[in-house]
């Protein structure tokens, strides 16, 4: 069992906190913030996978794509949706060739 001090720096706990507070936030926030939080959570998960040696370069590319384009939600709705499509396509490519 981890101490409460340890838990604050634990990457899984950080993701857990993000997911719970995002769930509450999505009740009141603009509808597209739901997809934003999910994409952000995906990037955070890839970060954890990286530390655990579970990523391939293609997955890191997904993370970079999210970091580069997630802000589109704030000024280009169509661009943000296209980014989610692009992300989905790249994910499918990884799945297809595995």
């Amino acid at each position: 069992m981890k101490s409460s001090d340890d838990i604050l720096s634990d990457d899984h706990f950080k993701l857990l906190a993000f997911l719970i507070t995002s769930a509450r936030g999505c009740v009141d926030e603009p509808p597209l913030y739901g997809p934003l939080r999910l994409a952000d959570a995906a990037a955070r998960l890839i970060e954890i996978m990286g530390k655990e040696g579970k990523v391939v370069p293609e997955i890191l590319e997904l993370q970079k794509l999210i970091e580069d384009k997630k802000d589109l939600v704030m000024y280009d709705e169509e661009g943000f949706i296209e980014f989610l499509d692009e992300l989905s396509r790249k994910l499918a490519e990884i799945i297809k060739k595995s």
Binding site: A17, F18, T21, S22, R24, E29, R37, Y75
Partner: protein, 170 residues
């Protein structure tokens, strides 16, 4: 710097350098806040300055909209007991007052070379618990502060022609 240039150049900054902001600069930013207009001069605001790295990290955990690692945070709150003095309009007026204080702070920060970002995506319940905020005080906005890694490009604005109506609507 000309005021309009400051207003037009301020950006929401979400990536910060690992560099502390001197206390006197933070106090200047806060001072700019208390000189915002306030309906009936009620001044319904309370500001919580957070500079401790441990506390900032904890607030990040419960704030999905807080990006980067800022050097400081200002939590802008409404003191509901004071806001009540504004009658039925007290709550909405208090929100306007705090918003104007926030803008003052962000412009002051920018004029000092400090980046800022207004954040409403945080968990109020958790933040009140973390910072021992009393029941009658409601956090409504967080401003993150820090020296920017870069100044983001300006987003598109609706034009004056589109949004300004002269003498009558339309």
């Amino acid at each position: 710097m000309e005021l309009l240039n400051i207003i037009k150049s301020r950006r929401s900054v979400r990536r910060f350098k690992d560099e502390k902001i001197p206390k006197e600069r933070l106090m200047k930013i806060l001072e700019a806040g208390i000189w915002a207009p306030s309906g009936s001069n009620i001044q319904p605001w309370e500001f919580i300055l957070v500079t401790g790295n441990d506390t900032i990290e904890k607030i990040k955990l419960i704030s999905p909209g807080l990006f980067g690692i800022p050097s400081a945070l200002i939590v802008l709150c409404i003191n509901k007991k004071r806001a009540e003095k504004g009658g039925r309009a007290g709550e909405s007026t208090a929100l306007m007052d705090v918003s104007m204080a926030a803008q003052n702070m962000m412009l002051m920060a920018y004029s000092l070379g400090i980046g800022s970002c207004p954040i409403v995506s945080f968990n109020k319940t958790a933040l009140k618990e973390l910072l021992d905020v009393p029941e009658y005080v409601e956090p409504v906005l967080i401003i993150s502060l820090g020296y920017p890694e870069f100044w983001p490009k300006p987003p598109k604005r609706r034009s004056l022609k589109e949004v300004v109506h002269v003498e009558k609507f339309g």
